[in-house]
């Protein structure tokens, strides 16, 4: 095994005898472009609603609940799909989230929420992960569309304007503090901070 690795190392270190420098640099460049493009294309495929609901765990539980909410059906025809709220838009954050998602692949393979009952049992824990994530990034995914700087309090409802112009403006609260369960049903909230 050690010999084998040493042979590979020697091969990599040795200057090329058959291929020109131009071929190797250009070829490397083109191969890099193809790899990079392919990688990002594959990444974007996993970033679609279609991909998310190709698993029945998502389609039959959370997607079904989303359908009746304002983020799915509304007057203006703007729709938030799964990745809009659950995957960061910035590349580095997105890759970090995708790496975390390997846990979800594990969950899928071992069927940790493959029945409705298992899902409901685990729902609070899963929801708390999402709330913690959104709390930590100051509700970044909400703010990708709902930019606080662009909010016109005068056309908001009285209650909404009062809370947004005080708690959110001062940074004391972030979107997810109040807007839990807006796109999916809530689990048993007994014991969740602010809900008992």
């Amino acid at each position: 095994m050690k010999d084998y690795l040493a042979r590979i190392w020697r091969a990599i270190r040795k200057p090329s005898t058959h291929y020109s420098l131009g071929f190797l640099t250009l070829g490397g460049f083109i191969a890099g472009v193809i790899f990079w493009g392919g990688f990002n294309t594959a990444l974007e495929v996993t970033n679609t609603e279609e991909f998310c609901i190709s698993c029945h765990e998502m389609e039959n539980n959370v997607y079904e609940e989303l359908k009746s909410t304002i983020h799915y059906t509304n007057r203006s025809g703007v729709r938030a799909t799964c990745p809009d709220c659950h995957v960061p838009h910035k590349w580095t954050d997105k890759i970090a989230r995708k790496m975390q998602a390997s846990k979800e692949v594990y969950g899928k393979i071992f069927g940790s929420i493959n029945t409705r009952e298992k899902f409901l049992e685990k729902r609070l824990e899963l929801a708390q992960h999402e709330w913690a994530r959104l709390k930590a990034n100051d509700s970044l995914e909400c703010r990708n569309c709902h930019d606080f700087a662009y909010m016109d309090f005068t056309v908001q409802g009285k209650r909404a304007a009062r809370f947004h112009s005080t708690f959110v403006a001062s940074g004391e609260r972030t979107c997810i503090d109040c807007h839990k369960g807006i796109a999916h049903n809530l689990p048993d909230m007994a014991g969740v901070e602010g809900w008992n």
């Binding site: 009746s68 909410t69 304002i70 009285k158 807006i182 049903n185 809530l186 909230m189 602010g194 809900w195």
Partner: protein
């Protein structure tokens, strides 16, 4: 037996006669006719309290309640209207009667029999009423009877 058939016949007859005077969303169109329905009315969401028509009337909800979850897991109305939340939210507190069980004992939380808010409290729409309403406020009735007595 004869009597029963007769009763049924009378019921059927009166039902057809009466149904012609009932205002419906179909505007008394025949069964085989299509009716153009009114557009769905808008919810009234102006956050203004509306006076009650009689003291025991459950107050109406002057805001949007779309997707408010009220089930075994959670009651999202209480996220603002429960006793301990109204300082922050300035919402109307749930009536004290809702913290009582049916024997009048006070509980720490909203009584299960009062848990489902929308059973009594509803939001309103701007739809025009289908039929007229001759309801008279009890105060006005009292004023009328007082005038008559004088």
């Amino acid at each position: 037996m004869m009597l029963r058939i007769l009763a049924c016949a009378i019921l059927l007859f009166s039902a057809t006669v009466l149904s012609q005077n009932v205002a419906t969303l179909r505007k008394q169109a025949a069964l085989d006719q299509e009716v153009t329905t009114e557009p769905i009315a808008n919810e009234i969401t102006n956050d203004l309290k509306v006076s009650r028509n009689y003291p025991m009337q459950p107050p109406i909800i002057p805001h949007n309640i779309r997707d408010y979850q009220i089930d075994l897991n959670v009651n999202t109305c209480l996220a603002c209207h429960s006793r301990r939340k109204v300082t922050n939210t300035q919402a109307t507190m749930v009536s004290v009667t809702h913290y009582m069980d049916r024997d009048g004992n006070f509980l720490a939380a909203v009584s299960p029999r009062r848990y489902f808010c929308t059973q009594c409290h509803v939001s309103q729409t701007d739809a025009a009423p289908l039929v007229g309403n001759s309801f008279v406020d009890v105060k006005e009735l009292m004023a009328v009877s007082k005038n008559e007595n004088e």
